[in-house]
Every structure is written in C-alpha cells, then in structure tokens.
C-alpha cells in the first residue's frame, strides 16, 4: 500500500491501488485483472501462443467468452455460410473447451455482444479491473470499474498470468453540469464531448465522467457514454457507482453471493472530496443538442440544427486537410444543412446503443409510422436477452410493422464483418460508435446518431431534429 491511500483519492486511483501486484521504478506496473472477456476475433492467436509456450490459463473462472463480431444475425438454425468466419467461431469454442473457459455459444439464449452481456449477466461489477481484446471494453466503466481494451499479445498475457503490464494513465474529469434538454440522449452527450475534446483529446488519460447530468443517467445510458470514451482516445472511461448501479446489479446471476456486503465495499469507491484529477473540463448539459457526425471520425460532429462545416472553417492546416478528405469520402461539400441529408440505410444496434432502453426509445418513434420507401432499416438487439425482453414488450411488432428488419443479436453492421454491410456510396444513420471510412462496408457513409434520431431518420428519409418531432 502506498502513502496515497491516506490522501483523498479518485475512483481511478482507488481501483488502481487495489490491483497493484508489483510496482518498481522504471518498470510498468503489474496490475491484477479481475475479469477478462474474450471474443472470436482477437483471441485465436493468443490461445495459440499459450499452446506454443506450453502455458495454461491461470484463472479460467475469471475468463468469459462469447462469439459476437463475426456471427450472422439471420436465422441461427442455419449453418454459417462463410467458412472462414465459421472456422474462427469454431476455434473459439474449441479453445474455451480446452482451457476450461465459460463460453456462451451462438445457440445460447444469453449470447450477445460481449459488452452487453458482461453487465447483463452481472459479471461486470464496481471496483473491478476488466479487460477484453476490444477497444469498447470502456463500456464496463459505467459501473465504476477500470475497464479497457487490449491487444492480442496482452490477451495472452492476461490468460497466462491474470495480470497486465500497465503504465499508469493520467486522470481526466469530464464534468457535465445541469440537466439535459428533452430529446437529448446519452449518445448526444458523448458525441458532443468527443466533438469538443476531439478524437485524440483523451489519449493517455482515464476519464471520469461526473456532474449532475451524468448522475441523472440510467445505467444503460451510462454504458453508452463510457462505451465511446475510446473514440476520444481515452484508455478508459468511468462513472462512480451509486444506488442505480447497485439496483441494476441486484439479482443478476453472476453477482457476489453476499450482495449487501459487496455493496458496502462498493460504496467506498467514489472519488473522495478534495481528490484531484490531472486535468478537468466542465460542460453545460443544457447546451447539448442532438448530434450527427458528418465526417470520418467521431469527433467530426455537429448539432442537428447546424450545417456541415467547410474545411476553411478550421484554422489548422492538418485539420483542414482532415476535413476536406472526410467531406470528399462522405460525398459532401460542406455547408449542407444536416437535416437535408438523405439516407439509404438505418442501423440500430451495437454495444453503444442496442440495449432495451435504446430499443424502446427507437420503438417509441417508429410506433404507428412507416420507414420511408427510400430507406432500408434494421434493428439488431445487443444480446439474446435484450431481444427476448423487446419481444415480450411487443417492440419487435412495432419495428416490423413500421418496416424495420428485426434481427438476431450480434455486432452486425457496426463493423460489417458478417454479411450485414453498406454498399459503396450508401448513406447510413447508425447508432454505433465508429464512422471510419469503410467501417460499415467499403465506400459506405456512416453518420452516428442516437437511437431516437436514427428511427426518426428512417421514417423521414433524412435527418430530423427530434426535438421538433411530433
């Protein structure tokens, strides 16, 4: 234990201190990892590495796996047609069998996007260190956990040692004061923040989101915010646990047996009065409007009632160049009104926005309306359990009747590794987290928005300001 234990500490500092296995001057810290989540795309080479070195998984019970990135979202009873995808998924199943790891297979009703099922099953808990070979592991920070994405070599390191070598990140507080206006969602909030601090503004930092607007968010909304921390370059994003966190977790299958005792421990985690962050920025919730990205990284974003910027709006020559090439890729000139942008596709899904509250928000808009004739729209629930819940509430009917495609759980068109993808030139309103070139299909043009904004865009055929929707 270090001296700092007696000083006021941040949430991050407490979790860090609590997981140091070995720290020495000039070395990276050996940090204990409580939970590793594993999926098919970034794990095969790690298991192979273990085998080649004759090593085993140190703590299989601290490791949980599912297949999500590469899975078809159509009828699961049919075989997977893509043989290479199938081989990757089969490899994960075999590796989990061989090394004694809990695996949620495609036919398991609990299967889903790894960042959706971790919290849903209660694996994700406050105070934990959580890693996964996936950058959106930051999602789990919504529970007051230190959660971050790692590379495949590190996946192997954690499998073999249950620890990770880490440089201690700096801390950045992003405080959002006041209340958000009606029609403005957690997705808008986080896109707004990324727009302000830019796509690398968080590099080297662990972000803690604080302030009234953050405390007001539901757990699912907090996950949306933390999920996108990586889009600002942050190593991790976190929110202090509170009664909402404990209420969300109570009764879930994988939570500690003595839940009340755990809650008592978790109550010690929030940042102490007087603790200092390496850097702090404050924003006003009331300033935030619904957001739509117009470029090819999530920081290139505008309010729905604004126009697409022009390269000359930027002072810095590199930024001008970035804007110019983003506009070119997106088939825009700059100066267009966001609400004039016409859409071909709408995707509601991903680990950012495919939980039940997201689907409810979208269904509320879709109810009794029809998807525009010019648009093809799909809804992909984040997990089997989200899908079941939505169906029990009749949301699938709402979507189907409106003309949305209703799919099985998976990552789907968030990264288009499976057959769900955009064709070149197609413009898509997407609730996912990345608008990189080709992310949703080569030549596809992605605009990131909230679930309600995506649903409204599907109906209207172009972006609409959800605040004026009636």
């Amino acid at each position: 234990m270090t001296d700092s234990v007696n000083q006021p500490r941040t949430l991050f500092q407490k979790i860090w201190d609590n997981h140091v296995v070995h720290a020495a001057e000039g070395r990276q810290t050996i940090l204990y990892i409580d939970l590793q989540l594993v999926h098919e795309v970034t794990s095969a080479q790690a298991f192979e590495g273990l085998r080649l070195a004759g090593r085993v998984v140190r703590r299989p019970e601290r490791t949980v796996a599912t297949a999500d990135h590469n899975v078809p979202t159509t009828d699961r009873s049919l075989p997977i047609l893509d043989v290479i995808s199938k081989r990757q998924i089969d490899t994960l199943r075999d590796n989990c069998n061989d090394f004694g790891i809990q695996y949620y297979d495609l036919n398991d009703p609990r299967q889903g996007i790894v960042h959706v099922i971790g919290p849903e099953l209660g694996y994700t808990q406050p105070g934990m260190t959580i890693v996964c070979g996936d950058s959106h592991t930051s999602t789990h920070g919504a529970f007051g956990a230190l959660a971050f994405g790692i590379g495949t070599s590190e996946v192997e390191h954690v499998l073999a040692t249950q620890t990770l070598l880490q440089d201690k990140p700096k801390t950045l507080e992003l405080r959002v004061d006041g209340q958000m206006r009606p029609g403005v969602s957690a997705k808008d909030l986080v896109l707004y923040l990324i727009g302000k601090i830019t796509t690398d503004g968080g590099t080297g930092y662990c972000v803690e989101y604080t302030g009234e607007a953050i405390r007001e968010l539901t757990m699912e909304n907090r996950m949306t915010v933390c999920n996108m921390s990586i889009e600002a370059g942050a190593r991790a994003g976190m929110i202090a646990p509170d009664e909402k966190t404990f209420d969300y977790l109570r009764g879930r299958p994988e939570v500690p047996e003595d839940f009340d005792a755990a809650v008592e421990r978790w109550r010690q985690l929030p940042t102490d009065e007087g603790a200092v962050y390496d850097s702090s920025l404050t924003f006003l919730a009331a300033r935030i409007a619904p957001q739509v990205t117009w470029g090819t990284n999530p920081g290139l974003v505008a309010s729905v009632d604004a126009t697409v910027p022009k390269p000359m709006d930027y002072a810095d020559p590199t930024e001008q160049k970035t804007a110019a090439s983003a506009l070119e890729y997106m088939g825009l000139k700059g100066g267009e009104r966001i609400t004039d942008l016409k859409l071909d596709r709408v995707f509601i899904g991903s680990c950012t926005n495919a939980r039940i509250e997201d689907l409810r928000a979208a269904a509320e808009i879709a109810k009794g309306r029809k998807v525009s004739d010019d648009v093809s729209a799909m809804v992909v629930p984040g997990s089997g359990q989200v899908k079941k819940q939505a169906e029990s509430e009749g949301l699938d009917h709402v979507f189907r009747e409106a003309g949305f495609d209703w799919r099985e759980a998976g990552c789907s068109m968030c990264l288009a590794m499976n057959p769900d993808k955009l064709s070149p030139g197609e413009r898509c309103a997407s609730t996912s987290n990345r608008n990189f070139e080709g992310r949703q299909g080569k030549g596809g043009r992605t605009h990131l928005v909230s679930p309600a904004m995506a649903a409204a865009a599907a109906v209207a055929g172009h972006f609409v300001d959800i605040r004026q929707w009636s």
């Binding site: 080479q45 495949t152 390191h157 040692t161 070598l165 080569k442």
Partner: protein
C-alpha cells in the same frame, strides 16, 4: 519477442492525421486465426481500386517507396480498434519503425509487443521530416534505440523519448509473459489476500 536495436530504411510518408486501424487492416481480414500473412492486406481499401488493381495515388504504391521500412505519419496514428492485426500487417509488410507526433495508446503498445519501434517526435520536427522525404529521393532514416536517436544522412538528428522498460524489452527481445511470471509468487500472494 523480436528485438530491435538500430534500423536504417527507406521512408514512406503518409500525410494524413488520425489514421485508424480499420484502414490499416480492414475487418474482412480479421477472420483469419493466424498471426502472419497480413502484409498483403495492409491499407487494403486505400491501396486498391474497386477492380482490385493497385491505386496509383496511394502513398505506398508510389514507385520510390516500394521497399520502405520506415513509416512517417501524422498525429493520432493507429486510433480506433484494438486489433493487433494492424501492427502485424505493418510488420509483415516490412515496416520496422513508425514515426509520428502521437499514437493511440493501444496501438502504441501493440507495436512494441511485435518488435516494431514507434517513435513520437514533436509536430514541427515531423513536419520537417515530411519536407525532407519530399526533397531527397530515396530518403532514408535511421532509428537507434540504444541511443534513442533518429537521423538521416543530410545532417538531421534528433533524440526521442521512450520509457526505459519498453526500451529494455525491445532491445533484448524479452518475453513479457516470461518476465511477469518471474513475479509469480507476488501474483499468488495477491490472489491470497484479495
């Protein structure tokens, strides 16, 4: 792990900021379960035209840089997805050194795990190097990890910073897991008390 001490190589300049790992290695190649063979897919969507032929405008398809092993890039290189396939592809293609004003955290880490040196230099120096790469045909840079210097044969030399642990591991090609397991007793005792 592969070691790295000193490398001199032809420079390829990529004058774009925020190059993300989705571009470095697009998702359609992530289905493979091997660690090697990703080089031919490097920057696939940028490097090829729709008919699959090489895109003559793409930086790495320029005649002078075919054998480049040093990549000069702009800030926030390697942002986005954590896929280690990105450094695997760069390394397999032949790159040993990447120079940029800044790198995304996970990508930076992934480079070192694969024997590639990622060098952070101030923005104005990188700007200078872009100028030199354009000015001198066949422009080469030398990166020396022992002395933490980058230089060319036209009187340019600068130092760079890298933390001593990463430097040590890369210089000696040390296996991270093996190193950590030297502290296995500490892991065990941690597990006993937590």
């Amino acid at each position: 792990m592969k070691c790295f001490t000193k490398h001199t190589g032809l420079v390829a300049a990529m004058d774009r900021a925020n190059v993300d790992t989705d571009q470095i290695i697009p998702k359609q190649f992530l289905k493979r379960i091997e660690r090697t063979g990703f080089g031919e897919f490097l920057f696939w969507d940028w490097a090829r035209l729709d008919d699959g032929s090489p895109n003559p405008d793409f930086e790495l398809n320029q005649p002078g840089v075919k054998d480049a092993s040093v990549l000069l890039a702009r800030r926030n290189f390697g942002c986005g997805s954590s896929r280690e396939h990105a450094p695997w592809a760069l390394e397999d293609y032949g790159f040993r050194v990447i120079v940029a004003p800044s790198f995304a955290d996970i990508f930076y880490n992934n480079c070192f795990k694969n024997g590639m040196l990622a060098v952070r230099l101030p923005e104005d120096i990188v700007e200078q190097l872009f100028g030199r790469a354009e000015k001198y045909p066949g422009y080469e840079l030398t990166a020396d990890l022992n002395n933490c210097t980058v230089g060319d044969s036209h009187d340019f030399s600068t130092t760079f910073e890298v933390d001593s642990f990463r430097r040590d591991c890369l210089l000696n090609g040390l296996d991270d897991i093996g190193q950590t397991l030297e502290h296995e007793d500490k892991i065990t005792s941690y597990e006993g008390t937590h």
